[in-house]
């Protein structure tokens, strides 16, 4: 086996690691329209992976390929070391929670949950499994109701129970919370996450909401125009964004363009010591890493600048300030302290917080 390089077996790392699902160079085109380009991604056992992207990024198409509703133009899917993409959706040990729930309107809540068990030939203990699944999502009281009689949040729970009762190895969720209002949405995020932790199966969660992705995921796969921009844990993707697109899409950021020469980085009138190689540099500096002077003591190498506040937005715990400097540089600053907006204010940041990033590749 080791001697053949073009064998149909997946790469060694797929089989030996705890990877459950392995996406190998999946591409999808609709006519001339390229939706996905060579996506390779592994989902580990018990992992909560979020596919994050704007509309049109191909995130839903990728999910639909995993579920089997779309056929990839090229590439392979492997699950547990077996080829998945040759199976029709009803033979895959994968279940989906749909964006608009897709509950069967002619069946009661209970019958909806039982559906996936009834169509299997084994009819054993259906009712007790349905009962347990409904209890798990706190919907036992509505077992006999028709889906049209319950609220969106409740329909969401039923859709979840209907998928989980099948005991899938992998649960796919297609923007399941997007139709809920903000409060319910936050509550469901927490519930969903703790449910996933309890039952320990892998979730692949699709969303366009970066905050949702941060709150829930073990890892985020950021998709941009059909290609993976970055795959990393929320903490890493936030603090170490690889590209300008990532830095801007995940949270707010200040993009600083400068030039490195002889160990110093020059950005407009600001200058600080750096270990970067000579040449142009692009850095991401999070607004919360820029602090008003005096809020914290000045460290030796912090960079100080003066600016006037041109705009401010109150967010409750913090306030987002728009700061303009005399040399044309503009900063977003997130601060918890009260700032007097009149006149020039001094700010500072630690150069270590300005993370070097790549320009995002031009794509069309």
């Amino acid at each position: 086996m080791a001697t053949t390089t073009n064998s149909v077996e997946p790469d060694i790392d797929v089989k030996s690691s705890t990877s459950l699902l392995s996406i190998r160079k999946i591409a999808k085109t609709f006519g001339k329209n390229v939706v996905l380009r060579d996506i390779s991604l592994d989902v580990a056992e018990g992992e909560f992976l979020t596919i994050l992207g704007e509309s049109g990024s191909g995130k839903t198409t990728l999910l639909r390929i995993i579920a089997g509703f779309e056929i990839a133009s090229s590439g392979e899917l492997w699950m547990n070391g077996e080829r998945l993409d040759h199976l029709p959706p009803y033979r895959r040990r994968v279940n989906t929670v749909f964006q608009h729930y897709a509950l069967f309107p002619h069946l009661s809540v209970e019958q909806n949950v039982a559906y996936g068990l009834r169509v299997e030939k084994s009819e054993a203990d259906i009712s007790s499994r349905v009962e347990r699944a409904l209890a798990q999502v706190k919907m036992s009281a509505h077992a006999k109701a028709k889906p049209s009689r319950i609220s969106g949040g409740q329909q969401q729970r039923v859709a979840l129970a209907r998928a989980l009762v099948k005991r899938p190895q992998l649960l796919l969720l297609d923007e399941p919370l997007s139709a809920l209002d903000a409060n319910l949405r936050r509550q469901m995020q927490i519930e969903l996450k703790s449910l996933q932790r309890d039952i320990g199966i892998s979730f692949v969660f699709v969303t366009h909401d970066q905050e949702e992705a941060m709150v829930m995921s073990d890892r985020i796969a950021l998709l941009r125009m059909g290609e993976l921009e970055q795959v990393a844990s929320p903490r890493e993707i936030y603090s170490r964004p690889a590209t300008a697109y990532t830095a801007q899409f995940i949270g707010h950021t200040n993009l600083l363009r400068g030039k490195v020469s002889e160990g110093f980085l020059q950005c407009h009138s600001l200058r600080w010591k750096t270990s970067l190689a000579d040449g142009p540099a692009l850095l991401s500096l999070r607004p919360e890493n820029v602090r008003p002077r005096g809020e914290t003591g000045r460290t030796l190498d912090s960079v100080v600048f003066k600016g006037t506040i041109s705009d401010r937005a109150f967010h409750g715990a913090t306030e987002l300030l728009r700061v303009e400097c005399a040399d044309g540089l503009k900063f977003s600053v997130r601060t918890a302290s009260q700032i007097d907006p009149a006149g020039e204010v001094e700010f500072q940041f630690d150069p270590a917080d300005a993370v070097p990033i790549r320009e995002s590749a031009e794509r069309s």
Partner: protein
């Protein structure tokens, strides 16, 4: 809210329409059905139930009524058997040819019904297309005479004519099924066959009911097909009504039969609407 003039303009035309074309004719028919015809061929305004009694006791009337219902039932069944697969194919598998296929089903409706019924006459006649062909390939030696002037010819023609009417509501119902329900069904492990029986068919029942009602009601009252192709054994209740109002000059009996048909049809429509409601979920 609205001016009196506006209200008058909006309400008077439909009221007038209903009076002239519905209320007055049906009231007249209702009255006629309780009158009778004298020996001297004049209508006697003497109120009695004789016409209804005749309808129930004279064999030709109730037997023809039953035969009409039996023909209509067969037409309904065959147009469902043809219309459902057609609608299913169009809705789920016609892809880019959907619009074209749809138009192909609809176009015959633009051709006069009379022309289409005549077409069957030339196909089914003893010198017709079908018999000529059968003899040419030596499957038969004499013309098959059950093809034309028989209930068979009536059922065949009516099925051809009313299948688009069953197709349309079934197609609309299938188009209304959210496709993610079918995906959800597959996702939960149901094969395409299971998905059809458990999801698609139940959700298309309102369309099936509407289509069946169209086919049954329209063919039950049909007059042309039996007149042209039915022969003596294939006449239907409308042919009797026509002759009662025409040559036989028995308007009272004709009215009584018409009224019974009306009651039958209206109850059917009512029943079908109730069932459709019961089977619609939204």
């Amino acid at each position: 809210m609205f001016s009196r003039a506006y209200r008058a303009v909006v309400t008077i035309p439909p009221l007038l329409w209903e009076m002239v074309f519905l209320v007055v004719p049906y009231l007249l028919m209702f009255c006629y059905s309780f009158w009778s015809v004298s020996a001297s061929q004049t209508i006697v305004h003497a109120w009695n139930f004789d016409n209804y009694r005749q309808l129930l006791t004279v064999n030709v009337y109730w037997q023809t009524l039953l035969r009409s219902m039996w023909i209509a039932a067969r037409v309904t069944m065959f147009s469902l058997l043809l219309g459902y697969p057609l609608a299913y194919f169009l809705s789920f598998h016609a892809d880019s040819r959907k619009e074209l296929c749809y138009q192909l089903v609809i176009i015959p409706l633009w051709v006069s019904y009379l022309v289409r019924a005549y077409a069957w006459k030339t196909i089914l006649g003893s010198e017709g297309l079908l018999n000529t062909l059968l003899q040419y390939v030596h499957l038969t030696h004499r013309p098959l005479d059950f093809l034309l002037y028989s209930p068979f010819a009536v059922v065949l023609t009516l099925t051809h004519i009313y299948t688009p009417f069953t197709f349309l509501p079934i197609y609309a119902a299938l188009e209304h099924i959210p496709r993610n329900l079918i995906e959800a069904s597959h996702d939960l492990g149901a094969s395409p066959r299971q998905t059809f029986w458990r999801v698609i068919l139940p959700l298309s029942i309102p369309g099936v009911l509407a289509g069946a009602t169209f086919a049954f009601v329209l063919s039950l009252g049909d007059f042309l097909a039996p007149a042209l192709l039915g022969g003596p054994s294939g006449i239907m209740i409308s042919n009797i009504v026509v002759s009662l109002f025409g040559a036989a000059y028995n308007w009272p009996l004709g009215s009584a039969i018409s009224l019974c048909m009306l009651v039958l049809v209206v109850s059917l429509l009512f029943l079908s609407e109730r069932l459709e409601k019961k089977w619609s979920f939204s």
